[in-house]
């Protein structure tokens, strides 16, 4: 059975189902992270004292990680543009970079976590560290999810390009929307946790 509107836009919504589905999912993600940002504001406003992020966190490391995630967002959009131009080899290269850059992000994050644990800066240490661990770990899980999906579209999933290129483009676009969202969350997490 052919699933309708995976490529063509539905007349009523003006979107194909892939795009509508991923945007609805991202809307739910906005509320998920929004709840945590709201908790952060409540905890910070209600606290008698609140440490500067730099007292616990390493700003240069956070800045490098921000640059890495932004770079991965750029390679993701370039991968999609390469598909639009019909250049599959370039797509593979950009997509590989999109997979490897967040792996580097996670390695740096793991080092940061190791430093925190070795200094006994665990979530139980303070409210600041509790919300720091919660938000960065949830974001990290999203990174892992993105790596898994993007790896699939770089590897076995990319075979679809040779049989159903339009459908494959849509899948990569949906994966890209998710990936840019993960980058967008970090753009807010970085100043809120590290710099303020």
């Amino acid at each position: 059975m052919e699933i309708p509107y995976t490529v063509q836009a539905r007349p009523d919504t003006g979107l194909n189902n892939v795009k509508l589905g991923i945007w609805l999912f991202l809307a739910s993600e906005v509320m998920l992270f929004g709840g945590l940002f709201s908790a952060y504001v409540l905890l910070r406003m209600g606290a008698v004292e609140w440490p500067l992020g730099a007292e616990f966190l390493n700003i240069p490391i956070g800045t490098v990680n921000t640059a890495i995630l932004i770079a991965s967002s750029v390679t993701m959009v370039m991968a999609f543009a390469s598909l639009k131009l019909g250049d599959f080899a370039k797509y593979k290269g950009y997509m590989l970079a999109t997979v490897l850059l967040p792996v580097l992000f996670l390695c740096i994050k793991a080092y940061e976590y190791y430093e925190k644990v070795s200094h006994d800066h665990l979530p139980s240490h303070s409210t600041f560290l509790a919300i720091y661990w919660t938000m960065t770990a949830l974001h990290g899980l999203h990174i892992v999810g993105g790596i898994v999906v993007n790896s699939y579209f770089w590897g076995p999933g990319s075979k679809m390009w040779h049989t159903k290129p339009a459908m494959f483009e849509n899948r990569v676009e949906a994966a890209g929307l998710y990936w840019h969202f993960v980058d967008l969350v970090w753009i807010f997490l970085f100043p809120v946790l590290y710099l303020l």
Partner: protein
């Protein structure tokens, strides 16, 4: 993103500019955090820069500026409304003093009419 090769190449040129703007934005965010200003102003500056960077990602990388679907606009509009409600929730919570025990400013003043009676 529209389909013609010429359009895609224009988009690629835009992506490179946006990448540069995001890199500059990140550096500015970090430098601004070292400014010796009140914490409320520091928070405002950091969030303004983050909002600009986020808008660039949403508009150009996620192609939100090109979307014309009313359904998508409705979905994202509702999301924005509920997100704002979530952000204001802590402010409403902390400004709500109903039911909180309150000491009046003259609570420790001597009760004059009782002193006069004796």
């Amino acid at each position: 993103m529209s389909g013609s090769a010429e359009d895609v190449r224009k988009h690629i040129a835009t992506y490179k500019k946006i990448a540069g703007a995001l890199a500059v934005g990140t550096v500015v965010t970090v430098l601004a955090s070292y400014l010796d200003v009140a914490i409320s102003l520091a928070i405002t500056i950091a969030l303004i820069i983050a909002t600009i960077k986020g808008s660039l990602v949403a508009n150009y990388f996620m192609h939100l500026g090109e979307e014309r679907s009313a359904w998508l606009k409705l979905t994202l509009g509702l999301t924005a409304v509920f997100w704002l409600a979530l952000m204001f929730l802590p402010i409403f919570t902390l400004s709500d003093h109903t039911g909180v025990a309150k000491t009046l400013p003259n609570a420790t003043a001597p009760v004059e009419h009782e002193a006069e009676a004796h």
